[in-house]
């Protein structure tokens, strides 16, 4: 499983380190503003239609989740009828074995790839490279990451954390680029080297945004032409499809495609959209001779039968990342998962469990902006909290916090305990504040309190309590209790 990375660092270490990178911090914030603003304009333009579309998409996605096996079977049968070779992979390892078998059968050792989160999820690149197979990422941003040995900071625009100077340097060092940092010049260079790789590749590996059950088709939504090269140049094509990518028919695909680019980058449509139904047909001049579809579960069925089933509606648009007040500061790297941001917390914890995610489920203020912006109405912030509830129930919370929460629970359920705690606490706090109205920076040594006062002042408990005043107030009105 390659969903998590940098697990030797804690969330706090990753966040602290990330905040030092001023460029990355600003790049993510700027991208958020741009996507958010453009999305907002399109949503406004659609008026009530947007909410109707959202509701329809939610119904369609729920319908597929509720009838998952039916649609998996329908899609597989129709894809097979189109001439595709189907491989069902219950786990990531199963998927890897299927892929290795395909390479072995063809004696292939050179592959190009485009746009697939599922291959990231199972760590396909690493496995192929270990067996001596060369695999080239052809999506521009993915190629930058692969060349630099870096991880995505955003699910839609993964190389956002590199500026043009950094990208120039990466290609100079690794690929012999000798041009300037002008983006057009770098992309021309990339185009040139990638063309050769498209021609040489024996296998093309790609992802799939939506799989259409009624036609057995797979789709690819991109803004570069490279995805289309991957799915038409190499003789052998392998398509990775998560079982949660299926839509019933072309009509429901239309609904999803109206929501996806608008939610993702604030665009009505992307530059490229491919709908592929099987290998090259008789008399056709291009396309692969052989198409393998790896239909992967890897924990989706388990999710579908859990309290996180709503998450199967997710279309990976990144709208929740683009609005999240936490993501904008900690970036994808803070989470340490290929699925970052609000959707990433829910999905990552849902797929890998709670042992290795550190405090990821707690890196959220539960503000609900994600839920409000989700095009398929996933109650994301509620699901994040559900993970916290499960973590406590399974005893995977920090033992040190348990007595604190137990004490709070006692105080909040007993007015006498509460009154006593206030009476004792007020002078102590005043003393720690040196008679001032708030605890300042110099109180940042006190356990628990330092969590707050390391960055903010904390107002002291009042010497007059509201309830005391109210009682007196009612007495003066004559007639209160």
């Amino acid at each position: 499983m390659s969903i998590l990375y940098n697990t030797d660092e804690t969330l706090r270490e990753r966040v602290t380190e990330g905040l030092k990178d001023e460029f990355k911090h600003n790049a993510i914030r700027t991208a958020q503003e741009v996507f958010y603003t453009k999305r907002g304009e399109l949503v406004k333009e659609m008026g009530i239609g947007w909410q109707q579309l959202r509701m329809h998409a939610t119904e369609v996605r729920n319908h597929v989740t509720d009838n998952l096996d039916y649609y998996v079977k329908q899609f597989a049968e129709n894809a097979e009828a189109n001439g595709c070779i189907m491989h069902y992979a219950p786990t990531g390892d199963d998927a890897l074995w299927e892929v290795l078998d395909i390479f072995e059968k063809h004696g292939a050792s050179y592959a190009v790839k485009s746009k697939s989160m599922m291959t990231e999820e199972v760590g396909l690149n690493e496995v192929l490279e270990e067996t001596g197979i060369t695999i080239i990422e052809t999506d521009c941003a993915e190629n930058i990451l692969q060349t630099a040995g870096s991880k995505p900071s955003h699910i839609v625009v993964p190389a956002l954390h590199f500026d043009r100077e950094a990208i120039m340097k990466i290609y100079k060092e690794k690929r012999g680029y000798d041009g300037s940092s002008v983006p057009e010049e770098i992309t021309h260079f990339l185009r040139k080297i990638l063309r050769k790789e498209f021609m040489d590749a024996e296998v093309g590996i790609r992802g799939c945004n939506f799989a259409v059950a009624s036609t057995g088709s797979v789709t690819l939504v991109t803004n570069e032409g490279n995805g289309r090269m991957v799915d038409s140049f190499p003789k052998v094509q392998i398509v990775f499809v998560g079982i949660d990518r299926i839509v019933p028919d072309l009509e429901s695909l239309d609904t999803m495609l109206a929501l996806l680019p608008r939610s993702a980058v604030g665009a009505k449509m992307t530059a490229y959209f491919s709908l592929d139904s099987g290998p090259r047909g008789a008399g056709e001049v291009d396309g692969p001779e052989e198409v393998h579809i790896v239909l992967m579960d890897n924990g989706r069925h388990t999710l579908a039968n859990s309290e996180f089933s709503d998450m199967l509606r997710c279309m990976r648009c990144g709208a929740c990342l683009n609005i999240c007040p936490v993501y904008r500061h900690i970036t994808g790297h803070g989470y340490g998962s290929i699925y970052p941001g609000p959707m990433g917390i829910v999905l990552t914890a849902g797929l890998v469990g709670y042992d290795d995610i550190d405090s990821m489920a707690f890196a959220c203020s539960l503000c609900g902006a994600c839920t409000e912006h989700c095009p398929v109405s996933i109650p994301i912030h509620d699901l994040i909290r559900q993970h916290r509830i499960n973590i406590v129930e399974q005893g995977k919370n920090h033992a040190i916090e348990v007595p604190i929460f137990k004490a709070l629970a006692l105080m909040w359920s007993n007015v006498d305990v509460y009154n006593y705690a206030m009476k004792m606490g007020t002078p102590v706090m005043k003393k720690l504040a040196h008679g001032e109205d708030a605890l300042a920076k110099d109180s940042a040594w006190i356990p628990v309190v330092k969590g707050w006062t390391s960055t903010r002042d904390f107002d002291c408990l009042s010497e007059t309590r509201f309830r005391t005043w109210f009682k007196e107030h009612k007495k003066q009105q004559g007639g209160g209790k």
């Binding site: 706090r12 966040v15 602290t16 905040l19 007040p325 936490v326 500061h329 900690i330 405090s359 707690f362 890196a363 959220c364 203020s365 539960l366 503000c367 609900g368 902006a369 409000e372 909290r385 916290r388 509830i389 973590i391 406590v392 129930e393 916090e401 929460f405 137990k406 709070l408 629970a409 105080m411 909040w412 359920s413 007993n414 007015v415 206030m422 708030a438 300042a440 920076k441 628990v448 330092k450 969590g451 707050w452 390391s454 960055t455 903010r456 002042d457 904390f458 107002d459 408990l461 009042s462 007059t464 309590r465 509201f466 309830r467 005043w469 109210f470 107030h473 009612k474 209160g480 209790k481």
Partner: protein, 248 residues
Amino acid sequence: MKIAFFPGCMVDMIYPEIGIAAVNVLERLGCDLELPEKQVCCAQGLINSGYVKEMVPAAKMIIDAYDSPEYDVIVSLTGSCMNAIINDYPIVFADEPEYLKRTEELAKRCYEFTDYIVNQLGVTDVGATFNDTVTYHKSCHVTRLLGISEPPLQLLYNVRGLEYREMEHADRCCGFGGTFSFKQPEIAGEVVYEKCRTIIETGANVVCGADVPCLLNIKGALGRMRSDGRLDRDIRVMHIAQILDSRG
């Protein structure tokens, strides 16, 4: 019409002046208020940290305190506490059918302070005068989760002397998030500092809100920025009730 007032624990513990202002405003509008003696805190900090079972006694106490035939409605001064009763208690009482039913009944009689004034009392001008520049933080619980966006602005609009200045992304979280702000101080600090920068950019002398925890957070951050020299003027942090109680 008897109102059971729900100030929220922070008003009782830290900011009694906010509660007093709200009582003044409501009484001036002819309301008859009571404060149930046993109420303490909605305890949402527990469920938000994952402690659901531990929250049951505190939630029961709130229901017992407010679910009484002598109260016609409940008016909450803090949106997030009201949100806890309406949206969180049903989860907490999943195995407590009696309390679940009572919560559902009580939820129908719960109103947030500004929503109550505008949509129940039908008042948008409370006769307040406040001669200053004001910006309003649209807190997540009031605005997004309870869906109350217009009433606070309608009330501020009718305050004489008040010059309203909208901040950028007024509905973006201030980074409080309950225990989040203690557990993840690095992140919460970044979020609230950014909120403060948008407040400062409006040039307003006062920032107000309808959710007390956000005010504690924003006040704490502005205070720290002031003492660090990152802020060169005083910005007052007030609950909207205090502005509505102002008479110039």
